[in-house]
Amino acid sequence: MNQGIEPYLLVSGILFAIGFAGVVLRRNIIVIFMCLEMMLSAANLTLVAFSRHYATPLSTPDYQAHVLLFFIITVAAAEVAVGLAIIVALFRTRRSIDSDSVSALKF
C-alpha cells in the first residue's frame, strides 16, 4: 500500500455530493432520509482515512477517531428510529410521503 489518503477523501467527497444531490432532487421522504444516511457514512470515511494517515509502523492509528465513529453510528441509529417513526406518523395523517405534501409550516 503506497498511495496517500487522497483517493479515500475523494471517494468520501463524491459520495457526500451524490447524497446531497439526492436530498435536493428526490421528493420521496424515505429516499431523502436514505441519502442523509449516505452523507453521514461518507463523512465517516474521512475520519477513518485521517486516522490511518497518522499511523506509522511505530505508533498505532489514532483510535480516538474510531471512538468518535462509534458514537456517530450510535446517534445515527437513534436518529433513524425516530425519523422513521415520524414518517409513519406523517403517512397516517397525510396518506402520502411526498415532501411537497408537508407544507403546513410554509410561510
Binding site: M1, Q3, G4, I5, E6, P7, Y8, L9, L10, V11, G13, I14, L15, A17, I18, G19, F20, A21, V24, L25, R26, R27, N28, I30, V31, F33, M34, C35, M38, S41, N44, L45, V48, S51, R52, H53, A55, P57, P61, Y63, Q64, H66, V67, F70, F71, I73, T74, V75, A76, A77, A81, V82, L84, A85, I87, V88, A89, F91, I97, D100
Partner: protein
C-alpha cells in the same frame, strides 16, 4: 486493485439510491454502497469500524428502512416529475462541491500511507479500552440517548388517544 473495486461499488450504490424510482431498489442499492464502504474501512485497517458498518448500517438500519417502505406500501413513488431546472441545479451544486474538493485534494500531496506491522493488540482491544476508560461518561450518555429515542419512538407510533 481492490481499492478501486470497492470504491466503485460504494459510488455506484450511491448513484443507484438517487437514480432508481422504486424505493425498495434504492434501499438495496444503499446496502451495496454500505458494504463497499465497509470494505474501504477494512482496507484502512479499521476492522472494528468496518464490522460495525456492516452490522449496524447494512444490517439493522437498512432492515428498518425496508420494513417501513413495505409497511407503508407506496404505489406511486413520485408525484410531479422532476423538472429540468431541478436536475440541473442539483447536478451543478454537486459538481461545484466535487470541483472544490478536487482542488483541495490535488494540492494536498500527502505522504504515502506506511505499511503497518502486525500489531500486538487488535484494534477492538484498543477501542474498548478507550470506550470504557477515557470515554466512559459519553458511553453512558449515549446509552441514555438510545433509551430516550426508544421511548420517543413508542410515543410517536402510538395512535393518538383523545
Amino acid at each position: 486493485m481492490l481499492f478501486y473495486l470497492f470504491a466503485a461499488i460504494a459510488l455506484a450504490g450511491g448513484l443507484g439510491v438517487v437514480a432508481f424510482r422504486n424505493p425498495v431498489t434504492s434501499a438495496f442499492s444503499l446496502v451495496a454502497s454500505f458494504l463497499g464502504l465497509a470494505a474501504l474501512f477494512i482496507h484502512l485497517n479499521a476492522f472494528l469500524v468496518g464490522v460495525l458498518q456492516v452490522l449496524v448500517y447494512a444490517g439493522a438500519i437498512m432492515v428498518l428502512f425496508l420494513f417501513i417502505i413495505m409497511l407503508l406500501d407506496i404505489k406511486s413513488d413520485e408525484g410531479p416529475k422532476i423538472t429540468k431546472l431541478m436536475g440541473l441545479g442539483a447536478a451543478l451544486l454537486a459538481m461545484v462541491f466535487v470541483g472544490m474538493l478536487w482542488r483541495v485534494t490535488v494540492s494536498l500531496k500527502s505522504a504515502p500511507l506506511e505499511t503497518l506491522y502486525p500489531e500486538v493488540r487488535s484494534d477492538a482491544h484498543e477501542i474498548g479500552r478507550l470506550l470504557f476508560g477515557e470515554y466512559f461518561f459519553p458511553v453512558q450518555v449515549v446509552g441514555i440517548l438510545l433509551l430516550v429515542a426508544t421511548i420517543g419512538v413508542v410515543v410517536l407510533s402510538r395512535r393518538a388517544v383523545r
